[in-house]
Amino acid sequence: MSLRDNTGPFFGEYGGRFMPESLIAAIDEIAEAYEACRTDESFQAELRELHRSYTGRPSIITEVSRFAEHAGGARIILKREDLNHTGSHKINNVLGQALLTKRLGKTRVIAETGAGQHGVATATAAALFGLECTVYMGEVDTQRQALNVARMRLLGAEVVSVTTGSRTLKDAINEAYREWVTSVETTNYVFGTAAGPHPFPLMVRDFQKIIGEEAREQVQELTGRLPDAVAACVGGGSNAIGIFHAFLDDPDVRLFGFEAAGDGVDTPRHAASIGKGRPGVLHGARSYLLQDEDGQTIESHSISAGLDYPGVGPEHAWLADIKRAEYRPTTDTEAMDALRLLSRTEGIIPAIESAHALAGALKLGKELGPESTILVNLSGRGDKDVATAGEWFGLFDEGARQA
């Protein structure tokens, strides 16, 4: 069977739908509506038109030779999702789910967000479609991604700072589920990554697979062949599955997901769910999970809010088990070094999330050699991360810091 044809609910032994009964009717409704939209030409046409005239698709590819000099001379090509409207790949998924919300006849959307990129994308789509919007964000993240909080509010969304648990992405998801239970009749939950209960992993992947479909053509046009490797960062896994999917049935193209290793995978402070976790159920699906012996979720740590999540989407868990994709760690320091290197060699400031994939590509290049071509998903731009980078590298003048 073609690997691309897997539509869930299970990917190997991962995925499924482990959810409270109170939310099953809403999830069934989404699943049914989405199943219809998958093959509905008018839905697909409407989405294509939004991508063309609103998002700015297709996104370009950029070969980065000065950066690649630091990667053993391999060719490195970036897929520029950072150039999308709102600054990351998240908009691809959100526009799809916003169209679906309209079809469901619902007037309000809620979303969780980590880095704030999914929240910004959701607030943007809500503004565009005239929907009410509430975004749940962990208190730790509202602080380190304050700029995105202001962006969401400018766009007319309500931002709720979540103060329970670890006060990061996983708790924002918990709070969004709690809220959804009480408002499910009017409200659609726009989920931000390729995780959660079926049909979210399938639907988010479908909305993101345009990244790989475009890039596969573009790289072939540029180089005359397929890339040797494709690299992406992995939080919940949406940008990674988005760029991997078109290549799943190309056995000569190696796929690499880079998980956030925080202080290092041999310390307790990381977010490497596949590398260091084991299978369990969280947020509606069975997948790899950072957890203690009792099944209590362990808090993840990463400098990157968008990767600071102790779980991962089920399709990645499956691809890891069948060894179709490899998952490797990138530490905070490696990611920040790669962020600075790309900025200085190419004039492109990447999101810290995406910098995890760039750091991975620097190592891969040395491993695969100068004849190799590596396609990297530049999932987002770094504007939101300037404050973090400024502090990390000491770029602020004394006394000149802005709030």
Partner: protein, 267 residues
């Protein structure tokens, strides 16, 4: 194993109270809050003050169905070093002191990681009656259904106002003990008005074949208990009890339980 032959099964206890013209009071408390020993004393105090069936919660890092009061209590229990194995200690100690059936309310991952069979076997040894599983549904619970069939443990699944008739039927068929009817579209917490949705849901559950159905979520005072027992077989109270325990310790909890249980005999 025929549950109805045993006089202290969950279902028989609830039915006995219903047949006597009223209904049962089901009381929830988390294990390990404020500490393991006090949580055992607290559960015993519930039983001694008119609670018919105990529901012991397993503290979990990601309690998506719980409101703030219960979240705070369970997070505190985790901070105090709660371990899943403490549940069996608690059940055993409670059962040694009072003769009420004890159900364990747990999110699914802790059971999965403990091992579904191992968890069930230790619960049976400790004298527990079964599990309430708020974040899984019968169609996602093959392993638990097989294990509960093997061990004879009760398996309480939830029904919601939004559940389709077909799903209600499947839930009723899969359930043993009682069907847990979610009164309103919400998470645990206090509500001043009980939703009319509960009455409708219980009626639909009867049509779906439910012999025993209890209402939970939002019940906080004796009047509400009484009101619910007009149409349901049991009233489930959680947040109000946890709040009493947090605010005034076991003595305040005992008072609250006694007041609530008076609601089962109001006219």
């Amino acid at each position: 194993m025929n549950a109805s032959l045993n006089s202290t099964t969950v279902e028989s206890v609830i039915q006995r109270r219903r047949d006597a013209g009223s209904g049962a009071l089901v009381g929830y408390l988390p294990v390990g809050f404020p500490d393991l020993a006090t949580s055992v004393d607290a559960a015993v105090a519930l039983a001694e003050n008119g609670v018919d069936v105990l529901e012991l919660g397993v503290p979990y890092s990601d309690p998506v169905m719980d409101g703030l009061v219960i979240q705070r209590a369970t997070q505190e229990a985790l901070k105090q070093g709660f371990r899943v194995r403490d549940v069996f200690t608690a059940v055993e100690q409670i059962r040694a002191r009072v003769d009420v059936p004890v159900l364990v309310m747990t999110y699914w991952n802790p059971v999965l990681q403990y091992g579904v069979d191992r968890f069930a076997d230790e619960l049976v040894s400790a004298g527990g009656a079964g599990l309430i599983t708020p974040d899984i549904t019968p169609d996602a619970a093959d392993d638990w259904i097989a294990t509960s069939d093997r061990t004879g443990l009760d398996r309480v699944f939830l029904a919601a106002p939004t559940s389709s008739d077909e799903r209600l039927k499947r839930t009723v068929q899969a359930t043993r003990g009682f069907v847990y009817a979610v009164s309103t579209m919400g998470i645990t917490g206090l509500r001043t008005d009980l939703d009319a949705a509960a009455r409708t849901l219980i009626a639909r559950l009867r049509v779906a074949g439910a012999s025993t159905a209890c209402v939970g979520i939002g019940i906080s005072n004796p009047e509400q208990v009484h009101q619910v027992l007009e149409y349901a077989d049991g009233a489930i109270v959680g947040t109000a009890l946890v709040k009493a325990l947090a605010d005034g310790g076991v003595s305040k909890l005992a008072e609250t339980a006694a007041a609530l249980s008076a609601g089962t005999t109001l006219n």
